[in-house]
């Protein structure tokens, strides 16, 4: 698909999405600043919590992005006592871990929001993170997604980067399942070429359906260091820590 085509799609998707989108508490209708929640995201999370990658995860972990459309999913995970790892907005403060068993029942809804998550979750350094088990399920939201599971449009770079970091730490593998929660209008029934840093997703979950996409050939992610300077990731603490951990071979 050419560049012009994706631009076209983008515009059409934003127009449609705006009709079902829910505003953010800080950014309101400025959709360029956050991944919005949308009508029907509850139906998405109902299906995500039944996925094998969650119910049969064993001692493997769950990762979630701080997108508004995943708030209800976070609530359902907390209610079920499922702990998870999430990044802070913009990965600015890196990765945090929420121990769901520690949240009083009255605060489940609150802990599922970005405001409340901050109160209950604990920061985890990459070093701490890599000592734990790999991730069974990784859920992200937003952007637009093609029929072969390639995400495009604003906001997809963060998850690609999180995936790359987790992969560098050896926390993703062949059995890791990647789910993209989107509104139906964000699914584009067309094959798109993936760039080397794109994470193709295994499932696209919309309010009306779940689409499985075969990703058996997906390669493990990696950070392409030469691409980082000049991006929003350049100054992140986690980038500095990752470099120290993986390139300097510190004890």
């Amino acid at each position: 698909m050419s560049r012009v085509d994706t631009e076209n799609y983008r515009e059409r998707i934003w127009t449609e999405l705006a009709k079902v989108a829910r505003p953010d508490s800080r950014f309101h209708w400025d959709f360029s600043s956050f991944i919005c929640d949308f009508e029907g995201s509850e139906e998405c999370s109902d299906r995500v919590v039944q996925m094998d990658a969650l119910t049969k995860r064993g001692d493997r972990r769950v990762f979630i992005t701080p997108d508004n459309c995943l708030e209800d999913l976070r609530f359902k995970l907390i209610s079920r006592g499922v702990s998870f790892v999430m990044t802070t907005y913009g990965i600015v403060r890196g990765f945090y871990e929420l121990d769901s068993s520690k949240i009083p029942a009255s605060d489940h809804r609150y802990a599922a929001t970005l405001d409340g998550f901050d109160r209950y979750a604990k920061p985890v350094s990459l070093d701490q993170l890599r000592r734990g088990s790999p991730f069974s399920l990784l859920v992200t939201g937003g952007s637009a997604v093609s029929s072969n599971g390639v995400r495009f449009g604003k906001g997809h770079g963060y998850f690609d980067f999180e995936w790359a970091i987790l992969s560098e730490l050896g926390l993703t593998d062949k059995s890791s399942v990647v789910v993209d929660v989107v509104h139906d209008c964000q699914f584009v029934n067309e094959v798109m070429p993936a760039e080397r840093h794109d994470v193709a997703v295994d499932w696209v979950v919309t309010p009306t359906r779940s689409i499985h996409i075969d990703q058996t050939t997906r390669q493990r992610g990696q950070v392409y260091w030469e691409m980082v300077p000049g991006t929003e990731f350049e100054r992140l603490d986690v980038v500095a820590e990752l470099w120290a951990l993986t390139k300097e071979k510190q004890p």
């Binding site: 800080r26 403060r93 405001d115 409340g116 500095a240 820590e241």
Partner: protein
Amino acid sequence: MDSDHDVAPLLVGPLTFCRYSYRRIWSKVPGVDARREKAGDQPLYSRVRHELTDMVLRRALDDTSPLPPEPRLMEIFAVSRGTLRRAIDDLVREGLLSAEQGRGTFVKQEERLRRVVWERLKHVAIPDSRFDRDLREFVPDFFGSEEATRRVMSLEEWTSASRVFCAPDNSVERLRYEALSAGKNVLVPTYGLRRGFIHLNGSVLSRSDLRHAASLDGMESYGVVLGPGDLRRFGNVDLIVTGATAATSDGRHIGGGQRYLALEWAMMEQLGLVSTAVPVVALVHECQLVEEVVEADHDCLIDYIATNSRVIHVWGSTGSASNEAPRSLRRIV
């Protein structure tokens, strides 16, 4: 200031765990060193800007009289007129200086205080879920806000209030929770007043929803949105509680610079929801208190300042500020 400075986290204590140097990282990435070195080479006007800022914050320059004349400043910084002007223009744009036609360039006291307090706040502030450490964008919660909240609750004005206006500041989140727990009606503007006010009624909310309802992220799920057209439906406000960037000992509220509180006050006053008799409480950290008389632009005047260690009754034993002349300053400029 330097683009290659070490990572210096805003917060000390539990929220900090990583300290690495950018210079160390990027000097090792192939093909990047050259670019980074260059970025570290800051232009002359930017050095002047930093030095001038520093002088303002150290109060090496007088707030009330204009900056020294250009030739003198050119001499101090050893730069050309063009470079000096560029630095000053930058600071005018940032709001730290104001250029007044025919009178000269002045330090903006209010902005100076903001910067001083922001510097102090770094040690106690809690980052925002979106804006992180960018204190220009929000009023942060702080370590010790529980104590400050308790002090607000010890006021008689709190006990008797059934309708409370609470600013959407992070430091007021806990107080909003307490107000809802006590079954009070709470009026909270949406962030930046962009989508009106939210009316929450604590007496009809279920216990398990209170924390969520008290947060900016959750309040819209439980409250009724009131625009200027139907704000009157909330009824008369008995008490106003706000956070602040800084509060002065003479009762000035210094906000983030957008004057939302003054705007909200004016709207409510026009609609008859508040009068000058309604007590205003600022909930701040001790480090946000400024012992200075400020020639600030008009903003909402404060009756009580509740901090993590005490309550200050600004108008002393003479009662509320309502009878005092300065109260008339409560208007939008």
